[in-house]
Amino acid sequence: MFLLSTMTYLPLLGALLIMLLPKKSDNLIRWVALLTTLVVFGLSIYTILGFNQDSKGYQYEEYYKDWIPSIGSGYHMGVDGVSVLMVLLNGFLFVLAIIASWKPIQTRVREYYVSMLLLYVGLMGVFCALDFFLFYIFWELVLIPMALLIGIWGGPRRVYAAVKFFLYTLVGSLLMLLAIIALYFQYYDLTKTNTLDIPTITKIAPQFSETFQFWAFLAFALAFAIKVPLWPFHTWLPDAHTEAPTAGSVILAGNMLKMGCYGFIRFNLPLFPDASKTLAPLMIGLAVIAIIYGALVAIVQPDMKRLVAYTSVSHMGFVILGLFSFAYGLRGKASGQTTDVLLRDNSAAFDGAVFTMFSHGLLTGGLFLCVGVIYDRLHTRDIKTIQDTTRVANRMPAYAAIYMLYTMGSLGLPMISGFVGEFLAMQGAFRVNGWIAFGTSFAIILAAIYMLWLYQRVIWGKPADYELATGHDDHGHGHGHATPAAQVTPAPTQASSKKADLKWLYQSIVLEPEDNDSSAAASHGTPAESHTDSHDNDHGHGHGGDKDLKENGAKFPDLNLGEWLTLYPMGIAAVVLGVFPGLVLNFLHKPAEQITAIFVNHADLAATLLQQVGK
């Protein structure tokens, strides 16, 4: 079976096919891209269904030793519990990203989908590669198409953001490359054989000296911390996110940030157990700062997308917090605990970290899509402008409803996936030190503040109809709690039963009891033309803002088909995971056990050495 290779190179095939298609056939190109991603998504589902959760080690392995024998590099692919989840997330998000770019991307369509599919190749490869050389190739392959996506189809400061993104991540990667070479020679010194095979090197990792572990850990950690991004290496993220096209943001948040986390899980913990234990307090410290700092900065952002970007910094902090709480907990071996006990006590932190990776992909991806929906209609992401323009809830009930779901998920409401990961990660942190958990718990309150305040301003804006806010002078209507009775017009006659259902859904989820009457009336007041005019909404415009706003600001069609197909499946997935977290967590038992085993073996080794010295 070449399942993993098929999944990795199928997008490349798709990209080549698109390059061969005639220039003008934009729709054909979109369909080819969609079909490619759908097939890969299907394969990724097939992979995860056939994955044996109870078996140790890597599955679906492909190993050809003779790729570059001179440097000991082989073509090795394989997935374990963590990476198979990431492969599924890739498969899922890319389908949605292709659909989400359907209408917004109208310029240089061919190049866009080629970049998108090349990005897909890199991202699939990163999670499947089990050879350092191969891994590094995929790791860097991701950079170029992403920089192109930001730099060509992005916002006004796109070039700056793209270059910053590229250089920032490149610096980290280069130091990682040196660490990989150093690791390679460390392995050579110990065994007198050359290899770049990740599992093989991991096997003898406990024998590396502590000094070596320390420096190599730092070199790897820098590369991954930039990618995660961990405070203080996060500064490229808000720029990249803000300027990227919607689908680019979804992939950036959903998949690319996971590359860094995955790197910590795959390399830092198992390869450098000593250094992981020693440096765990440092990493936990940085994670706590990232969590609080990200949340605080998010509150004051005037730009929707920038706000969501900072929430990413905060949420990814939970991943690092979980991972290194796990590592910190594993140092308990001295008091004579067995692997099982250690695992039982500490696996929550690991589970929480990986779960947050998965759920952040869905929820933040969803939030970026939500920002995209507004941006396509208003051509602005400025919260104040949106607030002063209209009351979005009245015109887009379906959108308001699903946006509410993502908001709640992101702030950690139980039953939605965001809660599970943060809860488990904090539980793990509590085992390290109660104060850490106490401190980070404030992030949940801050999350409620920034998310709900954002929701309030964006969705419950100025209640007036059609009047366009030209500036920020309209403070009288600011927070939009004035009763919009004057605007009530006859209900649309053609409201279908489906629409009625949705309204019920939206009312029951969104509305507060005392606000019910007026807002319900207002939502009935949505004029019919706003539904019918949805087609001439002009997408793919420049980024001028005001002119577009004047022309199109009044037209607020609710979600179109593409937006339905992206926002709702993602939301449903988030809820399903929130209710049945076991679906993901079951994959994590064996990986956690393996990492624990490495830590314990290592401690055993050290203990034996100590005994020998003692004698």
Binding site: D66, I68, I137, L177
Partner: protein
């Protein structure tokens, strides 16, 4: 000076002789020589209109030489044969260098015609002089004697001085040629002086004999050290000029910028690789005992070279000048590979490590040929279309010529060392060799430099992909098609990807190429 007399008395005059076999071993060189002469003759006979066909003759010659070299390799893969009384050595190091130079020659021919015809540069002379230059480089690669090194370097250098000034009506071309010529002559003088000192110290110009003499006298005489160290320094300065290492690089930007672009492409790779071949031949074969001294000098020069090249390249607006500084920076990366040849006493137990050092230089030089000529090739394409060579002239290239933009992006990413290109593998292998020789500090500086270099390479990519084409450039656009240029770029792109994704065959050849040097070193130290 009494010790000098003592040494001179040891010199036994050997009778120069050669046999028919010797000619077989220089078959590739011979073919290039014949081609060069034929080009001049045929150029005279052919009517002006059909002189474009000369490219085919030159190509035929190079490909024939390549085939001859390949035949000699397949006839005996472990060949190490000394010919013409030790002047010329046919071994795998020679072979690998011949491959580098012949490919440089082939690509140099392919990228020239359209550009040269537009600027009324006579093609026949161009091809012929270029062939002589290639011949000179090939002699350097296979030299077993300081005399051969000198003859080879001069043959190739003088040819390139002429080529630099080939655009006679262009002031920049003349200025660059004059600078290059004057500084080059000075470098040659220093080089000769160094050779004279070496001869004075060891009594021989034969590299193997020099190695033996230094090894045997190293332990007994202390006078030996200072004199031979001086010779070594002079030689390093001389080679430093040829490879454009900082601080001997001052001629490079002007010469590269002034020369016709195809010549810049040619001279930024060919003579540089020849300089490295000479450096390795002389230093590794002749002075392995002193490697502790020369590797540290090269390591320090490598830091200066990489850093200055990359930092100054950032400030350039002319892509041609930027590529000139980038080529200085790449000299620095290759020097990291040379510096990795550290050993303590002439013969190290870890021959594999030194092999890595030399083979990393070889493989990097090969990859560098493709990526740098590729980048210059797109520049030529652009100049053919609209004349300019500024970064701004690249604005919107991806819109009006997406394939050219893609090829340029590939070459630039390769130069920046980003996978999955050959440039990445080259850098990986060089850094690997250096880390193995405990030069971690050097590789960290190299890695940081590569990040800096990404910045200015990226500027061009940004211009091509992100910026719109200006109206002025649209108006200047004259569509020009060139079969040769397209062919060159296709070869280059394929080679960059193959060397990036499946470098093993080339790497094996490079490792084979490094092996004979160590046999020489071993023999010099009296070991089997």
């Amino acid at each position: 000076m009494s010790f000098l007399n003592g040494i001179l008395s040891q010199v036994q005059p050997t009778k120069l002789s050669f046999t028919g076999d010797d000619f077989m071993y220089i078959l590739p060189e011979f073919i290039v020589l014949v081609t060069a002469c034929l080009l001049v003759i045929v150029d005279l006979i052919l009517p002006k209109k059909s002189r474009g066909g000369l490219a085919w003759l030159a190509l035929l010659g190079y490909v024939g030489a390549l085939a001859a070299a390949g035949y000699l390799y397949y006839a005996d893969a472990t060949i190490s044969h000394t010919t013409f009384s030790g002047m010329f050595v046919r071994d795998n190091f020679t072979l690998f260098n011949e491959i580098i130079f012949l490919i440089t020659g082939i690509l140099g021919i392919l990228i020239s015609p359209t550009y040269s015809l537009k600027r009324k540069i006579p093609l026949g002379e161009l091809y012929s002089i270029q062939a002589f230059s290639v011949l000179g480089m090939m002699i350097v690669g296979g030299s077993g004697d300081l005399m051969a090194v000198f003859v080879g370097i001069e043959l190739s250098s003088i040819a390139v001085y002429i080529l630099t000034g080939f655009a006679r009506n262009d002031r920049g071309s003349a200025e660059g040629a004059l600078k290059y010529f004057l500084l080059g002559i000075m470098a040659t003088a220093i080089l000769v002086y160094g050779m004279a000192w070496t001869f004075g110290m060891t009594g021989s110009t034969n590299l193997r004999e020099i190695g033996r003499q230094i090894a045997s006298q190293h332990s007994t005489s202390s006078n030996m050290d200072s004199g031979i160290t001086f010779a070594m320094l002079l030689l390093l300065v001389g080679f430093g000029f040829k490879i454009a290492a900082v601080p001997f690089h001052v001629w490079t930007p002007d010469a590269y910028e002034g020369a016709p672009t195809p010549i810049s492409a040619f001279m930024s790779v060919g003579p540089k690789a020849a300089g490295f071949a000479a450096l390795i031949r002389v230093m590794v074969e002749g002075m392995p005992t002193l490697s502790n001294q020369w590797t540290i000098i090269i390591a320090v020069l490598a830091v200066l070279t990489m850093t200055l090249g990359n930092v100054v390249a950032i400030a350039q607006n002319s892509v041609k000048r930027m590529l000139a500084y980038s080529s200085i920076a790449h000299t620095g990366y290759i020097m990291v590979g040379v510096a990795a040849y550290v050993n303590s006493n002439g013969v190290d137990t870890n021959v594999a490590r030194q092999n890595d050092s030399i083979s990393s230089v070889l493989i990097y030089s090969l990859i560098y040929v493709f990526m740098n000529i590729g980048a210059f090739g797109i520049l030529i394409y652009l100049q053919n279309q609209q004349g300019g060579a500024e970064v701004d002239d690249f604005n919107g290239l991806a819109r009006w010529s997406p394939i050219a933009a893609l090829a340029m992006a590939l070459c630039l990413f390769s130069l920046a060392g980003i996978p999955p290109t050959g440039g990445f593998f080259g850098k990986f292998f060089v850094f690997r060799a250096a880390i193995n020789s405990n030069l971690l500090w050097l590789t960290i500086i190299g890695a940081l430099n590569s990040a800096v270099s990404a910045f200015f390479y990226l500027r061009v990519v940004v211009a091509m992909y992100f910026n719109p084409q200006s109206e002025e450039s649209k108006s200047k656009l004259v569509p020009t098609r060139s079969f040769f240029l397209t062919a060159a770029l296709v070869i280059i792109c394929v080679a960059i990807l193959v060397l990036g994704l499946y470098p093993d065959p080339a790497l094996k050849l490079a490792q084979d190429g490094a092996t004979p040097l160590f046999q020489v070193v071993k023999a010099a130290a009296g070991q089997p």
